[in-house]
Amino acid sequence: MNLSLGHAVVAETVKLRTLPAALVTVAVTVAGTAGLAALLAVAARDTAGAETVPALHTALQTVGYTQVGFVLLGVLTITTEYSGGQIHASLAGVPRRMVLLSGKTAALLGAALPTAAAAVAVAVAAVQLVLGERAQPLGEQFAEVGVRPLAGAVAYLVLVGLFGYAVAVPARSPVTALVVLLPVLLLVPPLLDAVTDHAEYLPSPAGAQMYQPGPVPDGALGPLLGGAVMAGWTVAAFAVAAAVFHRRDA
């Protein structure tokens, strides 16, 4: 049997699509984003007074919360192989480990990209719906900030999912992976930011540059460089994951 990368991609996509935990994660992530966007819109409306609210800014604030769903999706992609020993069957079917890892990466990309697009879309829609006439007209907002922040938000969510996946490969257990990932992404950056300017090179603040609306502040990395730094972290995590997965017993 000669399994090509294409076969591995198809097989991994079927596995991910039939994983109840992955389906629940995707559904809760999109629905939760809509709910959070509505809450943020209510908060923004209450503080804005008589002014119109820039709805895109509000919608983009959901990314900080929504990223957790993508991290979990990435983590589940690999850790479910280890919860019952399915990894043995997977490696018997696809013995070349880099092919298996690449197949999973492609399957995750295929799931994360439409989910990210849907999450960003429902965030914008929910904010517009709650604000109604209080929202600044969408055309005006796009003229101000362009579509770059929205595309950046999709790119960030997909990248953070891949980062979560890569960290979870050596970890093997979802609890271990999440105990590393959530503090690194959510807690460490603001703590280090208080003491050093280099904190902006951590994965989440660097990647966040991709979806910051408006002009780049002085001294900030900016969307392209920030995205590149986050992609660099992700590539580094993949290199570690590949090396570990290649050497160890399943």
Partner: protein, 263 residues
């Protein structure tokens, strides 16, 4: 099996979990570490007079900032003490779950949960009772000339140190109760760690409704925090009681469910 034996058994199981080292490391290193980081930012601000970005400039309670972050260790402990019972072993090792053996040895379920909760509370309380005073000392050391004599500091923040220990214990018990309900650690870990960060669901709710001050973390935080993100926050005692009531409620629901279902 007597309750004392049950507690001893649960203590042995807890002490032999690898994640206990992670949890204790988080409590014992991260709590003072965060205190040192935040306090060095505070010292820098006081040295340069550029205090714009800081919301809380008080120096006497500077060591308490690490408590919510160090509480992640308590969360990890509360989650793994029960989620480890439900993790299936590898297929080659039978694919079974430890909870089956545990309930064979101890069929009475409420004493089992009580023993686990007791062991969890004791370990969490001991670890934080070391970590929080150490954090206060570390913070005063980092402050240097801006610091206060230690006896003065502990007279002032002694209640907050005790409140921080209570907060960590209640957080661990909440994580434990939720994990009993859902039988895996992913949901409570995500909810509780995210809530300890800046993108906290509780903070978001506090922007929308004043009732958010009754949420367990925002109420319980009043036991040690001088600064609160909500308007008109509860007092330390009222906040602690509200958090304790949430914890008791979740534990009661967890016990009721655990008694009725198949493991």
């Amino acid at each position: 099996m007597s309750f004392r034996n049950t507690v001893a058994a649960e203590f042995t199981k807890l002490a032999s979990l690898p994640s206990v080292f992670v949890a204790l490391g988080l409590v014992l290193l991260v709590t003072p570490g965060v205190a040192a980081l935040n306090t060095s930012a505070l010292r820098h601000a006081l040295d340069t007079g550029n205090t714009g970005a800081l919301v809380d400039l008080s120096t006497i309670d500077a060591g308490l900032d690490g408590i919510p972050v160090g509480a992640i260790g308590a969360i990890v402990l509360g989650v793994t003490v029960i989620s480890s019972e439900y993790t299936a072993t590898r297929r080659g090792a039978g694919g079974g779950r430890q909870i089956t053996a545990t309930l064979t040895g101890l069929p009475r379920r409420v004493p089992l949960l009580a023993a686990k909760a007791l062991v969890l509370s004791t370990v969490t309380a001991l670890a934080t009772a070391v970590a929080i005073p150490v954090s206060v000392v570390v913070a005063q050391t980092v402050l240097g000339e801006h610091g206060h004599p230690l006896d003065e500091v502990f007279a002032e923040v002694g209640g907050s140190v005790f409140g921080g220990v209570c907060y960590a214990v209640l957080t661990a018990l909440l994580a434990f109760a939720v994990t009993v309900l859902v039988r895996n650690g992913i949901v409570p870990l995500i909810v509780l760690i995210v809530n300890a960060s800046l993108v906290s669901f509780s903070l978001l709710l506090s922007m929308v409704t004043p009732l958010a001050k009754y949420l367990p973390d925002l109420a319980g935080g009043q036991m040690f925090a001088a600064y609160s993100p909500v308007e008109d926050p509860l007092g330390p005692l009222a906040g602690g009681l509200v958090m304790a009531a949430w914890t008791a409620l979740f534990l009661a629901v967890a016990a009721a469910v655990f008694v009725r279902r198949d493991a």
